[in-house]
Symmetry: C2
Subunit: 343 residues, 2 copies
Amino acid sequence: MNLKELSRHLNLSQTTVSRALNGYPEVSEKTRKRVREAAEALNYSPNARAKSLATGRAHAIGHVIPISTKHEMVNPIFGDFVAGAGDTYARAGYEMVLSLVDDSREEDLYRQIRARGNVDGVVIHGPRMAEDRIPLLSELQLPFVVHGRASEVNTPYSWLDTNNTRAFARATRFLLDLGHRRIALINGLEHMDFAFRRREGFLSTLREAGLTADPALMRSSEMTEIYGYRSARDMLAHDTPPTAFLVASMITALGVRRAVHEAGLEMGRDVSVITHDDDLSYLKNGHDVPIFTATRSSVRDAGARLAEMLLDLIRDPGCGPLTELMEAELIIGSSTGPAPTKA
Amino acid sequence: MNLKELSRHLNLSQTTVSRALNGYPEVSEKTRKRVREAAEALNYSPNARAKSLATGRAHAIGHVIPISTKHEMVNPIFGDFVAGAGDTYARAGYEMVLSLVDDSREEDLYRQIRARGNVDGVVIHGPRMAEDRIPLLSELQLPFVVHGRASEVNTPYSWLDTNNTRAFARATRFLLDLGHRRIALINGLEHMDFAFRRREGFLSTLREAGLTADPALMRSSEMTEIYGYRSARDMLAHDTPPTAFLVASMITALGVRRAVHEAGLEMGRDVSVITHDDDLSYLKNGHDVPIFTATRSSVRDAGARLAEMLLDLIRDPGCGPLTELMEAELIIGSSTGPAPTKA
DNA sequence: ACCATCAGTCAAAGCGCTTTGGATGTCCGC
DNA sequence: GCGGACATCCAAAGCGCTTTGACTGATGGT
């Protein structure tokens, strides 16, 4: 069933039917009703390709997921992020198109996306500190919003980010107040902007307290469970092991917990652990009492907000760079406690 | 830059340029080369919407993700699955479009997808035992492949599934051979087909061994960490606690491990645990020695294969219902051991 | 009674591509 | 030197929609 058939069926022109369905005022309410009912009955929905060819809007948003060949990991936050964004899109009548791309061929891809024209905008995931996608997209005039920021990019652009620096500063402060002095940082890959900022929050807070960080207690890698396990296991085997861990993700924190238990220690008593918690739907940090003390920031909410920003930007490209900084809450669980006194 | 401009630039007709770029034989190699080079230089790529309007092929595949309002969880396997599928699509020049849908409005959505015509086929995720999407899509004549199966659907359809029954039967057998008699099953939601099959594998193996399952040792829910934790904690508090756990996912198994440790027990010595392992990139089951004994089946590979099947089906709709059953490997880790003798 | 206005409708052009059905020129065999 | 075969190219129609510009009656003010 297409427009031509429907209009013939109704003894109306395509113009009128189109206008009736799209809510234009120059068609009488009576015919509009008649058209609506016929469309419903005959199960007509307009062909999206034709529509977007005619209007120049694709009604779709692109998400480009970098799958580097070196780091094969798929970001576990992805599902929840997409769920949040998808919700917004669905409400606005937009679709979400995913492109996976090996990060070596990124530039080409974005140019193609632009030329092929089947999205009206894109969201950039996992920005690195120096993010060349940002100037590229600006040049291409393709609306975009970044999930995170790129510290080394100075031109304005739209982004939404968690206040990672502040979150990790607060967490560090919290551990210091509990008396911890040897605090380990199990961070994400530090060319990723979020990880860089978290380290800054950590280091600056230590500095303010007159402490210097021990490089042996700082790691940076992809945030897997194994990585957390190994890092914590190795560090706990030191002569002067850390009394606290600051960890970049729940998954990694689970690995840390494993190492802690394996060493015969208990979280919250012998060793304190704070983790960042993206509030993933399948990995809730406890229900009543959180397992981990954590800096929490819902990635699903972030997805929803980011999508809204991008849609705004598409509707009115002039509404200028939009930015939003989400604060993470520090929630207290049972994984932290006073630093053990050297008995 | 569009076709008209490009062809004018080359002093050729749109026809010739189009044919040159699409590899038709009726254009000389010399002009083809000239056209290719100009296209490259001017950064021309065809408008996908116009192309698909003209050809009737969208060169895109739809993935419909059910987000039920009751069960808000986003399936954690999603990221890896999509990475596998996306890889195949990218290679074939297809795009992936995601639609999230509240499962109450599913039928409408599929009809719309069909009518709007911006995908050439869809993959069905998370089939339930009685899956009405299957007859619906057959009726709509929209090519589709199911990730999993629907036990109560009798009409033929294309699917790719892990042999869940066999996997859990083998795991159960393995535990029985180690002397375990009280085995707990921490399963996924049992209206989901995969969970149903796993339970069947578990129960039938017990039956063969002349044992009957204790309902108090069987749970079924969304596969979160908390769920694993609570289930195991409760069960371990029984008068006659289980000596082994069969768990439906790694995430849930991490919760089980937490409960085991909290009870002062050790996995592999006091309590055995086997889990299903989807081989997620961010949750590898150990490197050299697996943490958990597990039935392993890569969901990323499944995504890649499924995508291939669907593309085949689209190229040649006649190539009939395609089906593929992947066997899970049983890998032995340190979480299992002989049943403790009642000393 | 007459023109301006306006609500309601329509035919046709256009979005950027593919593809059908020629048209043109070239080369060969006879 | 002529008809066919073949290679190479083209004009135009069509994909399903939106949108421009125009047309028709009815209404109302003077």
